[in-house]
Amino acid sequence: MQKITRDILVEKAVSLLENGTVCCVLGWKKGEFDYDVTPALFESKEEIEKDFVYDDFCGANFSKYLVKKTIKAEGKILVFLKPCDTYSFNQLLTEHRFDREKVYAIGIPCEGMADINKIRAIAGDGISEIKCGEKIVVDTIYGDKHEIDAKDVLLERCINCKSKKHVNYDELLGDEGEVIESNRFDEVARLEAMTPDERFAFWQNELSRCIRCNACRDVCPACTCEKCVFDNPKSGVENKAPANEFEEKMFHIIRAFHVAGRCTDCGECSRVCPQHIPLHLLNRKFIKDIDSFYGEYQAGAEVGSRAPLVNYTTNDLEPSEVFEGRGE
C-alpha cells in the first residue's frame, strides 16, 4: 500500500552509492518469510538489487542502528526514514549518540505498516506467501487465499500515528507531511478510569506473559546505553524470565522510566514483543503525565531540546499533588 515503491528506493540507493555520496545503505531485507523483513546493511549495487525490499512490513526504525554503524563506516551511510523514525533520529542526535555528518538521510512517506499478528488472526496459521498492495493477499500452506484490506491490519502505532511530518532529512521523497491529531492517549485514559483492581488485573495479565527476551529494550532507539542495568549479573534480574510479581513489574517500570521524557513514541517495543504486551501503554503513560504536569513535550521534535526529566522549574507540581483533582 506504500506510495513509494521499492524500485524508486533501489534506484536512489544505487545512484548515491555509485556517485560516492554514501558508502553503504541501511535498508530492509527479506527475511525467511515475506513478513519478517529485517534491517540490513548493503554495500554494493548487486546486493541492493537482489535483496532490498520495501513493503508493508518495513516497520523497523533504523535510527538506533546508526549509533553502531556510523562508528565503523568509512563514509556516509544512507538511511531511509519514515516520519516517526525521524523523531528517534533527532532524539539520538540530541543525546550525541552519532555523528550527523556521517549520515545521509532520505525521508520517505509512509501509509502505515501492517501488523502480522492481525493478519494471522484473519488468515490463521501456515502463511506461505504475502503480497502487499491496496489489498494484502495471503496464501497459506493449506491452500487458503485471503484478501485483506491493508487499512484493517495496521500496526497500533500507525492507527494512532502522531505525525506524517519528517523532522530531519537531507532529501525528501514525496510531499512534506503534517503533524496530525491522534487519539494515542485514549487507551491510557481508559485504563486510568478503571478501578484499581481492574487495572491491577489488566497489568497482571499482560506483564506476566513477559519472557524477558529483552527485545523491547534492544529495539528501543532511546535505550542505547553501553551498559544496561538489566545486563548487570549482580542485579539478579538479567536475562531470565521473571520469577514473580516483583520482577515482572520491576523490569517494565524501570525500562519505561529510563526512557521517560526521551521516548518519542515510535512504537517499536510493542511491535517486536513476541508476547504481544502493549508496552506503548507504559511509555505513553509517562508521556501523558509529562504533558499534563510540565507542559506538552514531544521528544525528538527538535534537536537539542531539553528533556523534561533533566529540567525543572521552581514551582513544579509536588508528588503529593499528582493525584489531586483526579477524583476517586
Partner: protein
C-alpha cells in the same frame, strides 16, 4: 497461638543535609516515631533512583518515603527539583500499575524540623498500616 501484631516496615530515604539532621533532632528532642521506620541516609534526595524504591519494596518494605531539603534549599542547589519530577512520575506510574498510592510519599523536612519529621513518620506509618502488607510488589523469596 499468639498472633503477631502487624507493624508496617517503612523505609525512609533521608538526605544527609536536611532530613537526616531533622531525624536527629527528633531523636534529641525525645519525639516518638515508629521504630519500624528504617532510615537510609543518602547524600541528596536526588541520589534515590527509582530502582531504590522498587528494591525497598522487594525486600519487604510496606511503604517508602523520601525526605529531602525544602525546594530551594538543596545543598547541591537543584537536586531536589529533579527528585520532585522523578518521583511525581514514578508514583503516578506505580499507581497506574496499582501499587497503592499511600505507600509512597515525598516530604520536605529541614534540619530544624524535628517535630515535622516525627509527625510525618507517624502519619505515614499509620496510613501504611491501614493498607496492610505490601502484596503487589513483594518478592516472596526475600521474605523470611
Amino acid at each position: 497461638m499468639q498472633v503477631k501484631e502487624y507493624k508496617p516496615l517503612i523505609v525512609a530515604f533521608c538526605c544527609n543535609w536536611c532530613s537526616y539532621a531533622g531525624a536527629d533532632l527528633a531523636g534529641n528532642n525525645r519525639l516518638n516515631y515508629p521504630a519500624d521506620v528504617k532510615i537510609i541516609r543518602v547524600p541528596c534526595s536526588c541520589r534515590v533512583n527509582p530502582m531504590f524504591v522498587l528494591r525497598a519494596f522487594q525486600r519487604g518494605a510496606d511503604g517508602v518515603i523520601l525526605c529531602g531539603c525544602h525546594p530551594g534549599d538543596c545543598h547541591y542547589t537543584s537536586g531536589n527539583y529533579y527528585t520532585r519530577r522523578r518521583m511525581a512520575l514514578l508514583f503516578s506510574m506505580l499507581d497506574y500499575l496499582c501499587i497503592e498510592r499511600e505507600r509512597t510519599r515525598v516530604e520536605w523536612v529541614s534540619a530544624a524540623e524535628g517535630a515535622k519529621f516525627a509527625a510525618t513518620m507517624n502519619d505515614f506509618a499509620e496510613k501504611v498500616a491501614a493498607l496492610g502488607e505490601n502484596k503487589r510488589l513483594e518478592d516472596l523469596r526475600c521474605k523470611k
